[in-house]
């Protein structure tokens, strides 16, 4: 039962990818929606098993490592899998209206989306460095292809820039995997952690891997590809990329730093990663403050919000680990909601220039409400998932008397409030009737509801901390840095 559920998470979307290519346009969306609805059903028995018995290990084809490949499911992986499943349902419902059957865009979206889901689920389960490379590559290729679906020149160029940097990053990672395999003869993360001795070769490998993953996660100053790619992609695709895809490489970074290199003494490197996070928070927020288009504001906000996760490395404590895990979850929900709401606004008005958003509280009240709820979580206002994540980060900094990081988290929250209130204030501004544009069309009810449900979930994540935190605490990394 457990093994079937685990394989279902990967092989249901993967099988549907192949089947859906053979189907006529009209049948593609409904079949994929059914596949997406099957993911939570697979996760339920797994959640119960992890809750009662702890980690699950599945040895694929019964070849034990170092030769074979292992899937491992712990609390952190489980939370990320739930995030994927929960974001996937509303996004698919939204996509049914934004990629209607009969159009070329709809033909392309569904198989790519299923391939991406299979890759994401496989990555969260993998405990093998090379398997992680293969799944990451699958995710990048599917993600890049989805950006270009509309065929807009801007989106195509952004996709190409993402692809070139993504392939460069993959090569750096693959080179590191090769070095590590040459040194240890193992690819399983735990085995490598035991066998790999800190030294010049290990340090080179860690630097190469980290650089590659920082590019893929768009951590400042390697973020250059993200705003154009996320800001110009079709609506649901932006939500998928910002909500899920960038989390995937950050998750790998956490696994590699805390599981593989957990017991190495690397305070200077950890501080450097934290400083990159600080750069991301400050630069992303300020850039978001001056963007003229709504989707670009949200894209730069992603650059800033991912920076908070990087503070895990210098703060290295249970509180920081909880905060980073919670930030991955809360940001995924809120950012997907925000991009879906923005997609509805863009489609309804025909533009997402901030100047054109006046009067929105009368035109699209529910979409604006969803956007605002998501904004509450991003700003870190209580009660929301984002608030808990930032609160725990402040707590971690407070306990270690790390005042610099404490100030940074506070300033970052203020800046995010600034760039989001700038948008919200504009939407409630009512110019005289002469200037008000009267042309808009109400988006489909299901598209609005998809954004609203995700936004409500982002708020609800502020109330469900107890079970989530005990799952996170059940998956603490090995190594002695956990006071």
């Amino acid at each position: 039962m457990i093994a079937e559920a685990l394989t279902g998470l990967v092989f249901i979307p993967l099988g549907v990818t192949l089947v859906v290519l053979l189907l006529p346009d009209r049948a593609r969306g409904p079949l994929c929606l059914a596949a997406v609805l099957a993911l939570p059903l697979c996760l339920l028995p797994l959640t119960e098993a992890v809750w009662t018995n702890g980690d699950i290990t599945l040895v694929l084809a019964e070849f034990a490592p170092p030769l074979g490949i292992v899937w491992r499911l712990d609390g952190l992986a489980l939370i990320m899998l739930w995030l994927t499943a929960i974001v996937a349902v509303p996004v698919s419902i939204h996509a049914l209206t934004s990629f209607p059957p009969g159009q070329a865009s709809g033909r392309e979206f569904w198989p790519l989306w299923m391939m991406l889901l299979a890759g994401i689920n496989a990555l969260f389960l993998s405990a093998d460095l090379f398997n992680l490379y293969v799944t990451l590559e699958m995710i990048t290729l599917a993600g890049v292809a989805m950006i270009g679906i509309g065929g807009k020149a801007l989106a195509l160029k952004a996709a190409m820039r993402y692809l070139l940097l993504g392939l460069l990053a993959s090569l750096l990672y693959l080179l590191a995997v090769g070095l590590i395999y040459g040194q240890t003869g193992a690819l399983d993360i735990d085995l490598v952690g035991e066998r790999l001795q800190p030294g010049r070769m290990a340090a080179t490998a860690l630097v190469l891997m980290t650089t590659g993953l920082l590019v893929k996660s768009a951590i400042f100053p390697m973020h250059v590809w993200l705003p154009a790619a996320h800001g110009n992609a079709p609506g649901p695709v932006s939500a998928i990329l910002s909500g899920l895809v960038v989390k995937v490489s950050l998750y790998m970074l956490i696994r590699i730093w805390l599981w593989m290199a957990g017991d190495w003494e690397l305070p200077a490197a950890a501080t450097a990663l934290g400083l990159l996070g600080a750069g991301a928070i400050l630069y992303g927020s300020i850039a978001a403050l001056i963007q003229p288009r709504l989707k670009m504001v949200i894209a730069y906000s992603t650059v800033a919000q991912l920076g908070y996760v990087m503070l895990l490395f210098p703060l290295a404590s249970i509180e920081a680990y909880r905060a980073a895990s919670y930030q991955l979850l809360a940001h995924g929900l809120a950012k997907a909601a925000m991009f879906l709401a923005a997609a509805n606004i863009l489609k309804s008005l025909g533009t997402d220039r901030l100047i054109a958003l006046t009067d929105l509280d009368r035109k699209l009240p529910v979409d604006l409400f969803a956007f605002t709820l998501a904004a509450v979580s991003i700003m870190g206002l209580p009660p929301s998932g984002g608030f808990l994540a930032k609160w725990m980060l402040l707590e971690a900094a407070w306990r270690q008397e790390a005042w610099g990081w404490l100030v940074l988290v506070s300033v970052g929250s203020l800046l995010s409030a600034a760039y989001l209130f700038r948008v919200i204030a504009l939407t409630c501004f009512h110019p005289g009737r002469r200037h008000a544009s009267t042309r808009w069309q109400t988006p489909p009810r299901s598209a609005t509801n998809a954004a609203l449900i995700l936004a409500l979930l982002a708020i609800a994540a502020g109330f469900t901390s107890a079970p989530l935190l005990s799952l996170i605490d059940g998956s603490l990394p090995p190594g002695g840095i956990w006071p």
Partner: protein
């Protein structure tokens, strides 16, 4: 000794690839540069695994083979994307100058 030679040569090839990726304007050149880089990565992977060349390591070979398959797929996809860009903009490049994000 030959191992060191191989690693040095592969590093040089890797550097040439990075250079080409950064400098080239035409997208086809950028893709070729990436392929040059991946070849050097495969050489390094092959050299550092095994026991100094007397008996090859089958796992490393399997990894490299998978890597080659992925590189081919990625290149094919990138070429298709390049053609779409050419059709949409009339130019096979992604230079910043003609972007309009405003």
């Amino acid at each position: 000794m030959t191992e060191v030679m191989f690693v040095l040569a592969a590093s040089l090839v890797f550097g040439i690839g990075v250079w080409g990726l950064l400098i080239a304007e035409h997208l086809l050149r950028k893709l070729l540069a990436l392929n040059v880089m991946s070849s050097s990565v495969f050489i390094i992977m092959l050299v550092v695994s095994g026991d100094g060349g007397t008996s090859p390591d089958p796992v490393a070979q399997a990894l490299i083979l998978t890597g080659i398959v992925i590189a081919v797929a990625a290149t094919a996809f990138a070429l298709a994307l390049m053609i779409s860009i050419y059709r949409a903009t009339g130019r096979p490049s992604i230079s910043e100058s003609d972007d309009d994000d405003r």
